[in-house]
């Protein structure tokens, strides 16, 4: 039974990865909390990490993975969990910050160098990450790739890894929770994010009209609508978090630099004290 072999192999592979992810994070938290000079690692982040791993893994392990092999609508539900919902939860758990404070100084420095390297800068650039994420989806659903994925195990594994990694890169290129090589302005990230979200929405409607080869029209329609509205729901959370950070950073700028830093007048001192006539 090649189908069963297929499922059990991916179950085993992705299941092990998920278990290891939780295990490593747990060990790191334990290690970090033993160091008295450091603040205790927030429990909220542990919950976020476990939830993120479970959300992502639920798409590629167990019943949902099996259903999504045969039904496009379930495939799309899995895609939302693996590529959007899971990565967001994982990014909020700040794994890189945890790694840097758990490693000995020398290794931590090496990791930090790696994060600052041009290559890391390239992959975490908002535009690169958006193209990898949304462009990858266009490629998957508008070419023969989607059909081929169901016949080649290696392609199946590669595509699911790509969806997950691209989703994670996309999230961390927009929300700076962990240290990043270069911080882009809120305005720039917002513009890129709008374009990416539009690309996602356009693809959803395109799939509604032109289903991938081999997908029945009813499944394609339900899947496309799930992609459209499910994407909206996760993106709304991302937008709120992005703008919340923007709002707080404007406050900080106001208190520290009471001048016109980016064209906005942050202080009314001059206008208020000017002679009124």
């Amino acid at each position: 039974m090649p189908h069963d072999f297929y499922i059990s192999t991916t179950d085993w592979l992705f299941g092990m990865l998920a278990l290891l992810a939780i295990l490593f994070y747990g060990v790191a938290v334990f290690h970090s909390n033993r160091q008295s000079r450091l603040r205790k690692w927030p429990r909220r982040r542990i919950v976020l990490w476990v939830a993120g791993v479970l959300a992502s893994a639920s798409a590629v392990v167990g019943p949902l993975a099996e259903l999504s092999h045969d039904f496009f609508t379930w495939h799309m539900a899995g895609h939302l969990l693996l590529g959007m919902h899971g990565p967001l939860l994982l990014a909020l758990a700040a794994p890189m910050t945890l790694l840097l404070r758990t490693l000995p100084v020398r290794q931590a420095r090496k990791v930090s160098h790696l994060l600052k390297s041009p290559l890391a800068g390239f992959y975490t650039h908002p535009i690169t990450a958006s193209i990898l994420n949304i462009g990858g989806l266009w490629l998957l659903y508008t070419t023969g790739l989607f059909a081929a994925m169901h016949h080649h195990l290696w392609l199946h594994v590669l595509i699911h890894m790509h969806v997950f990694v691209a989703g994670y890169l996309f999230t961390i290129s927009l929300l700076y929770i962990d240290p990043v090589s270069r911080r882009y302005s809120y305005r720039f990230r917002t513009v890129v994010f709008i374009a990416a979200l539009a690309g996602h929405g356009i693809l959803s409607k395109f799939l509604y009209a032109y289903p991938p080869a081999g997908v029945p029209i009813e499944q394609a329609r339900a899947g496309a609508m799930l992609m459209y509205y499910g994407g909206d729901a996760v993106d709304l959370v991302l937008i709120i978090l992005l703008f919340r950070n923007w709002y707080h950073s404007a406050k900080r700028q106001q208190t520290h630099i009471p001048s016109t830093t980016d064209g906005y007048v942050y202080s009314n001192e001059t206008t208020q004290n000017a002679p009124a006539g």
Binding site: A198, I202, A209, R221, A224, M225, R244, Y247, K251, G277
Partner: protein
């Protein structure tokens, strides 16, 4: 000086543009949100996809749909920001809201519905009265918004004059 500080006209005037933009963004986002919940989800009048949609219609719809989320959330954060600076100017904000909401509705009702044919307001009915009400209400909103903005500017000017007389 009391009038000036009581209504914080100085703050309002320095953030006049931000008050207007907060309104325009939130108005646009809110109308897009109403369109989605009321006409797509609750009434099921609008179709998710209409076969006669031209290619550029999908792009326009995608961009506006994406932008409307940002506009709603961003507009509300701008309101929070204005409050924090004691510069929220309700009349200007409402003027912007009506202008932004009306402008989006007019664009949706003319370019998106008619030119790009992304979908009609309702199917299997005589569409003309629906189009008239839709675009008519959009124009009413735009005009009301512009009048409010004009009136807000006048208020600011007369408050300034009052201060000049007082000092």
């Amino acid at each position: 000086m009391a009038v000036l500080q009581g209504k914080n006209w100085t703050n309002r005037k320095s953030y006049q543009k931000r008050n207007l933009w907060a309104g325009i963004l939130f108005g646009l986002g809110f109308v897009a949100f109403l369109d989605e919940t009321l006409f797509h989800q609750l009434l099921h009048w609008h179709k998710f996809y209409d076969k006669s949609t031209v290619a550029i219609g999908l792009v326009s719809d995608g961009l506006f749909h994406a932008f409307s989320w940002f506009a709603t959330v961003g507009g509300l954060y701008l309101v929070a920001d204005l409050r924090r600076r004691n510069a929220l100017w309700h009349k200007m904000f409402w003027g912007g809201k009506l202008l932004g909401g009306g402008a989006f509705q007019l664009y949706d009702g003319t370019i998106q519905h008619k030119v790009m044919r992304i979908h009609q307001i309702r199917y299997h009915v005589d569409i003309v009265p629906y189009d008239v009400v839709w675009n008519g209400s959009a124009i009413v909103m735009i005009v009301a918004g512009l009048l409010l903005i004009k009136s807000a500017r006048q208020n600011a000017r007369s408050a300034e004059k009052l201060v000049l007389h007082a000092t």
